[in-house]
């Protein structure tokens, strides 16, 4: 074989077939697809170096078998786990940053205001819950509006999906409603909430408001910054 002999390489058309192959095997996200496509293509080309007669399809099957009986599923599962963890770390970090001066004063002030309303007003609890429900409705409306505005992209990035599904933050909306139980059982003769429950409710509510703010507004607004950190290739596909 001459030194200039070039081994067969995976063509553009075959690369597209490999993308189709990963999608068929439940790899929904482009970030993972590109990595697996490159891996499979490298493996196929390696086979062609020793056996140029093997077909693309057969070589692909040989490579895919190397991933074991579960195929790509372990990799997908792990990637999801790792990126969800990364998202929650991101939320935690932003929450810590949030509780710095001057916003910490605002937060403590809000906690005190809620506490005061619960302790001193017969309808304090109803008022606080009403405001909370209103906030939840605003979050829901924003969520629906955002979903409508985001055009369906052909190339989905896993972390992007997590960010714009707000890391499942809407699931915490039910938490304040657990307070109803407290309300019905822990009010004194004047109709106000007993002090330690008022304290728990005020702290929890403010933490939930901040959590909601971070997940629904703060992180989605800065999504581009986070996504380019995790995916250097992200800029090319916007």
């Amino acid at each position: 074989m001459s030194e200039n002999y070039k081994h067969r390489v995976v063509s553009k058309q075959e690369i597209q077939e490999l993308f189709g192959f990963t999608r068929k095997h439940y790899v929904a996200y482009y970030d993972l697809q590109t990595e697996l496509v490159d891996h499979l293509a490298n493996g196929i080309e390696e086979q062609w170096k020793t056996n140029s007669y093997i077909s693309f399809e057969d070589a692909l099957q040989v490579e895919f078998k190397k991933f074991g009986i579960f195929g790509f599923s372990d990799i997908i599962e792990q990637r999801q786990k790792v990126l969800s963890k990364r998202y929650y770390k991101m939320v935690g970090k932003e929450m810590l940053t949030f509780f710095k001066v001057p916003r910490i004063i605002l937060s403590l002030g809000s906690m005190y205001l809620i506490y005061w309303l619960l302790m001193h007003f017969s309808y304090g609890f109803e008022f606080v819950m009403g405001v909370t429900v209103l906030m939840a409705i605003i979050a829901l409306v924003l969520m629906i509006r955002n979903k409508k505005n985001r055009t369906e992209k052909k190339k989905k990035f896993l972390l992007e999906e997590i960010i714009f599904n707000y890391g499942g933050a809407f699931a915490v909306v039910h938490v304040p409603f657990n307070f109803l139980n407290i309300y019905f059982n822990r009010i004194d003769d004047n109709g106000v909430v007993v002090f330690y429950y008022a304290l728990i409710i005020s702290i929890t509510l403010v933490l939930l408001y901040v959590y909601g703010f971070i997940c629904f507004f703060y992180i989605p607004k800065r999504a581009h910054k986070y996504l380019t950190q995790v995916y250097p290739e992200y800029n090319k596909f916007e």
């Binding site: 553009k12 690369i15 990595e35 490159d38 891996h39 493996g43 792990q78 990126l83």
Partner: protein
Amino acid sequence: MRKTNLFKGSIHTILLKLLESNDKMYGYEITQKVKEVTRGDLKITEGALYPALHKLEAEGLVDVEVQQVDGRLRKYYKLTEKGQKETVSKLAELEKYLETMQTLLNPKFS
């Protein structure tokens, strides 16, 4: 004997060591390098390699870089500063373990 089992717990250390000796590497290159260095005795399976790499990435021990090669995107991994420190401590840990094993397997009776 299934040789790979012995190495299961050491995959992160192996990856860190490989990335320390090579500036940056991509997944397939790593599998080939391990095969080459161990003369085929050890194979890092694809199913174990990528979750391990992604974990190192999430822990901030490796950083990623993407390049267009042969019409496709290639994701390279390279050690971060934190990763370099971690490599030193992981290797020391592994060496200590090997030493202990050595003593266990070849005890010196005095």
